[in-house]
């Protein structure tokens, strides 16, 4: 497995700095050199693992302490069903719905942590971001942390509705790419109830450590949006329109986890 010839490497190295695209790979005949093929396969494997490896709920629960955790499942029974049936990932299964109905109700903010399309992202970033966010929400009542498996973004609507939350914040794994397989997204929805549209949410995307949004900055945004949402009584396009600065800093468009 030889490197590309020295002169080709030298030629491309200053150009590569301009883009993360896989340029100047060199050739073996007409094909990609083996090194490039294996690097690509490794990145794809990481992305696939992010989609398919199950969320370790016990480990996450331990990291979330001292917050109390309620575990729920969506109506998608397994990963294959989850991927085929986004509608099932947006609903709770019966046992989870009953469990939530038995909980105390009425909070300013309820956090839902859902695996989405990258359990790796959730495992890596969710607890740290949650702690940073709660620190910034002094004076607001925060409900138990709901950890959801096989979850889409809109699952938070049903959770928030059942817990009678004014605002639900869903922390969820975004669709993995080859360059970043562990990117977390946050979706805020005021007055959550089933049937909310995506245009009624605010999103903070690209929370990760490979040039993405830091926990501190993401938590700042989240806290600011949460207080504004409670003050104005809304989330979505109308809230975002007032926050040019935040929208601009949020970077590239959301990679929908749900």
């Amino acid at each position: 497995m030889a490197d590309a010839p020295g002169n080709v490497t030298d030629l491309w190295s200053p150009l590569r700095a301009a883009t993360s695209a896989r340029v100047g790979l060199g050739r073996s005949g007409d094909a990609q050199p083996l090194r490039a093929v294996l690097e690509f396969q490794q990145a794809h494997a990481k992305a696939r693992d992010a989609v398919h490896l199950p969320l370790d709920v016990d480990a996450l629960t331990a990291e979330l302490g001292p917050h109390r955790v309620v575990q729920v499942e969506s109506a998608a029974a397994d990963r294959s069903t989850y991927l085929r049936r986004p509608d099932l990932g947006r609903r709770l299964d019966e046992a989870s719905a009953e469990a939530l109905d038995a909980e105390e109700k009425g909070f300013d903010v309820v956090f839902v942590i859902g695996d989405g399309l990258s359990a790796t992202a959730v495992q890596t970033h969710a607890a740290a971001l949650l702690h940073a966010a709660v620190e910034r929400l002094g004076g607001l009542s925060v409900g138990p942390v709901v950890v959801a498996r096989q979850a889409r973004v809109a699952l938070g609507d049903e959770v928030g509705e059942r817990l009678k939350a004014k605002l639900v914040a869903v922390l969820i794994g975004e669709r993995p790419g080859l360059s970043v397989a562990e990117s977390l997204g946050v979706y805020l929805t005021f007055d959550p109830r089933r049937g909310r549209r995506d245009s009624e949410r605010n999103c903070i995307s690209n929370v990760h450590r490979l040039g993405g949004l830091s926990y501190a900055l993401a938590a700042d945004k989240l806290a600011w949006l949460a207080r504004e949402a409670l003050r104005l009584g809304l989330t979505g396009v109308k809230l975002k329109d007032d926050v040019d600065l935040l929208a601009a800093a949020a970077g590239s468009p959301a990679l929908e986890g749900g």
């Binding site: 030629l11 883009t19 050739r27 007409d30 590239s252």
Partner: protein, 466 residues
Amino acid sequence: MTAYRCDLGGERYAFDDLKTVLAKASPRRSGDELAGLAAETDAERIAARYVLADLPLKVFLDEALVPYEDDEVTRLIIDGRDADAFRPIAHLTVGGFRDWLLGHEADGEALAAVSPGLTPEMVAAVSKLMRNQDLIAVARKRRVVTAFRTTLGLPGRLGSRLQPNHPTDDLRGIAVSVLDGLLYGVGDAVIGINPATDNVPNAIALMEMLDALRQSYDIPAQTCVLTHVTNAIEIMNRRAPVDLVFQSVAGSEAANRGFGVDLAVLKEAHEAALALQRGTVGQNVMYFETGQGAALSADAHHGVDQQTMEARAYAVARAFDPMIVNTVVGFIGPEYLYDGKQIIRAGLEDHFCGKLLGLPMGCDVCYTNHAEADQDDMDGLMTLLTVAGCTFLIAVPGADDVMLNYQSLSFHDLLYLRATMGVKAAPEFEAWLERMGMVGPEGRINELTLSDPRMSRLLDQTRRVA
């Protein structure tokens, strides 16, 4: 009314209406299952195909799947159909049409002659009775030639879109990817950027950079920034260099509304682009993208299966004489096309249906990381599509689109297809490659080394432009 029934293997199967027959006759795919339209069992699927095979083609003229009154795409299809062109096949059943298409008498000329008489529903219907090899064999006969600065669709040619996307639209980063692609002889169909930020000033900056690159290399190719059609109209008003006008389209009025377009705005853009007269060897100025599942994801599918809705999008495209059309076949995700098998089948169906309706049909052979697919599946689909005479394929550096976060083909893949299938780029572009000294023995693309003066010239120009 259950007019659609058949007895098969000791069971009676009945279907409520025409669109149910079509949906249940479709090869299994996750999008139709998500919509609740798919056959319940494999046996029911085949029963639906028996029923479909015996229906007269004319049934699609009598029964609109999406109501004429509610939908401008249906009105476009019905009102724009050429009844004379349909006459030679008017007596056929859907099954008979399949046999007719495969017959030796149905050569390219005969297929072209019936194109204006066909509706997308007829084409979708017959595709459901065709195996993959049938879709390939018939599509291969139907060449559709279009031109702007290059001529696409000629026999023995395979075009390519060079897609140099960048996560922040960095001009230098994009120029580097363009250079990379040109070194593999890619880009004769279009050099086209999906902007990360879709607004007018950003699109103009990208267009001006691409146009300067094109002129400094003296490349016979067309460029495109895939911005919304309303932006393109505004950009043309501001006299920025627009070669091809891009828009995503779908198969119903409501789905197109979801994309923020209707036929009137497409017409306005088409006329504005024609008025620029920027083409040198032709004036096909539109670039459309489509993909199965677009209508369902907009909840605008009217209970019709996703492949038939996709074919209806081609009726929208053909009204504007496009330079290129491509299905973004695996981009939409596993809830519509679950795995490599479903993506490959859909790619071949889309190419066949587009060609039969007279479109310069290409394909973005691609998948997302949550689909059950990998580059091996893409190797299969790109090879099959090249055999089928596909107009063009999309390629990005190393098959990894770092802006849209999905996998397409790599520039290398075009070299492989060129070498194994003996296909070449468009004649104008091929002549440019030869002028650049990039075409080697047996039509292969040379690998340039650093010491090669042609390489340093290309590099210098890249640095100057960006």
